[in-house]
């Protein structure tokens, strides 16, 4: 019985430490530092490190864990919305992103202010996860439809989007069930197992993005567009 919390703690610590990897890679080894995807990934990692290493390590802030979590949702949603706004080409979808950003952020701020400080709120996290999932699908299909964008996986943006889609898809159900089950020990260990594994996987994918040189080339041949 004692082994489980040890494994959970180890996983959690590995997940927290894994945030350092993309950060270090961005600062010292990133091939395309001006890339918007990498900058967003760097800011997310930096924010997570500040929260995990400097705020949540202090016992006085433990009572605000859920509030910090909700604030993290706002930060992540804002940064990822900015990323998709920049990398998606369709102007209609860009307008949609701007409108969704305004509406959802208003709701997120509202829940941050009004919701109980001692309860986990699944709704905002679930909503943002679904929105990210839709954005990712749209981005990927847009890239596929564009005949001139070859070598998709040579772009850091692609790996950042893959990290987001896998993390959003994988953590969707744990986040949804967390509100009503977080106090149950079985759920807690399962939640930590899934969340930490996906968190590490997300950071590893961000590391691939950091090491990818932006070689996105325009095809020398493209199918003529119909007028």
């Amino acid at each position: 019985m004692e082994k489980e919390p040890k494994i959970s703690n180890a996983l959690r610590n590995i997940a927290i430490l894994s945030d350092l990897l993309p950060l270090i890679l961005f600062l010292f080894f990133a091939k395309s530092k001006k890339n918007v995807g990498l900058r967003v990934a760097f800011l997310i990692s930096l924010y997570s490190i500040v929260v995990n290493f400097f705020i949540l390590s202090n016992r006085h802030f433990w009572q605000y864990t859920f509030v910090i979590g909700r604030f993290t949702t706002i930060v992540e949603f804002s940064l990822f919305s900015f990323l998709f706004y920049r990398i998606i080409v369709s102007s209609y979808f860009k307008n949609g992103i701007a409108i969704i950003f305004f509406l959802v952020n208003t709701y997120l701020v509202y829940t941050l202010i009004t919701f109980s400080k001692t309860l986990y709120d699944s709704v905002p996290v679930g909503i943002t996860a679904m929105i990210f999932f839709i954005y990712c699908i749209f981005y990927l299909f847009e890239r596929v439809r564009d005949a001139s964008s070859l070598f998709l996986y040579s772009s850091p943006d692609f790996w950042v989007v893959v990290a987001i889609i896998i993390y959003s898809a994988g953590t969707f159900f744990p986040f949804i069930f967390a509100q009503s089950n977080l106090n149950k020990p079985d759920f807690d260990s399962e939640y930590i197992l899934i969340h930490s594994t996906l968190y590490v996987l997300k950071n590893l994918l961000l590391c691939i993005a950091m090491l990818t040189k932006d070689k996105t080339q325009t095809a020398s041949y493209s199918i003529p567009k119909k007028k």
């Binding site: 990927l140 596929v144 070859l150 896998i166 959003s168 994988g170 744990p174 899934i194 041949y221 199918i223």
Partner: protein, 262 residues
């Protein structure tokens, strides 16, 4: 929760893998398309070079076999011994030499006209095609007619020459291979395109035959037609008429390329 998470993960990973494989397929398809286009360009370039060489050989042969002997004969009449001849012989020799030089001038004029028809240069495509068809009809072997419905505004001279060469080559092919009893050319244009349509009742070819010939070393004239159409950014279609009685060739020159001279 565990299975739901697995399902969502499978969906996300499956989607990413699908996108990557689809991309690879698209890349492969694009490369194939590019290779095919390059191959086609190479064939057209080869055809164009061969045609130029044949044309040079024809001109060289005309000059060497016709103009050369004529001038040599004229030179014979005008040799040094002529001054020792009596006056009437001298006059006869000069007259003969003059005749031969006139023939040579006519011959060179014909060669020059075959390179650039003066009617086309001076009076435009309509007159040049009319002229060509009158000559063909005049031979009596085939009934050739043409009708320009709307040619108040002319194409640019280089475009007219290209269109004329295409018509000339098509007519040549019909005379050589089709055994037709008539050829009829019509011209028209709408807001977007300039059209030339050529009908004949002989043995013709369709687009399928054109594509087959494109892949082979045969059909030099046809490849020339296509390379000229390419320069014009024009589309050329070979088809059998709906009535299945006539063969039809349609040349469509886009209007933006159709810079008109009032």
């Amino acid at each position: 929760m565990f299975f739901g998470t697995l399902g969502m993960l499978a969906l996300a990973v499956g989607l990413v893998i699908f996108i990557i494989f689809h991309q690879r397929r698209v890349i492969r398809y694009q490369l194939q398309l590019k290779e095919m286009e390059e191959e086609q360009q190479k064939i057209l370039l080869n055809a164009s070079i061969r045609w130029q060489e044949e044309e040079r050989q024809r001109i060289a042969a005309d000059l060497h076999d016709d103009a050369g002997p004529l001038l040599a004969t004229a030179r014979l009449y005008l040799n040094e011994n002529l001054v020792r001849q009596d006056v009437s012989t001298q006059l006869q020799a000069i007259y003969n030499a003059k005749q031969i030089i006139d023939d040579t001038i006519q011959l060179i004029r014909n060669i020059s006209h075959s390179l650039m028809p003066p009617t086309l240069k001076n009076f435009g495509l309509e007159s040049a095609v009319n002229d060509l068809f009158q000559k063909i009809s005049g031979s009596g072997s085939i009934n050739a007619s043409c009708r320009f419905h709307d040619y108040r505004q002319r194409l640019r001279p280089e475009q007219e020459l290209l269109v004329f060469r295409i018509i000339q080559e098509l007519v040549n092919n019909i005379l050589k291979h089709s055994n037709a009893s008539f050829i009829h050319v019509t011209q028209n244009y709408n807001e977007e395109k300039f059209f030339i349509r050529l009908h004949h009742d002989g043995r013709g070819i369709t687009q399928v035959d054109v594509e087959r010939l494109n892949k082979s070393a045969l059909g030099l004239g046809l490849k020339n037609i296509q390379s000229r159409a390419k320069v014009l950014h024009a589309k050329i279609d070979f088809e059998k008429d709906l009535s299945q009685t006539y063969y039809k060739v349609t040349l469509e020159v886009p209007i933006e390329e159709y810079e008109m001279i009032s």
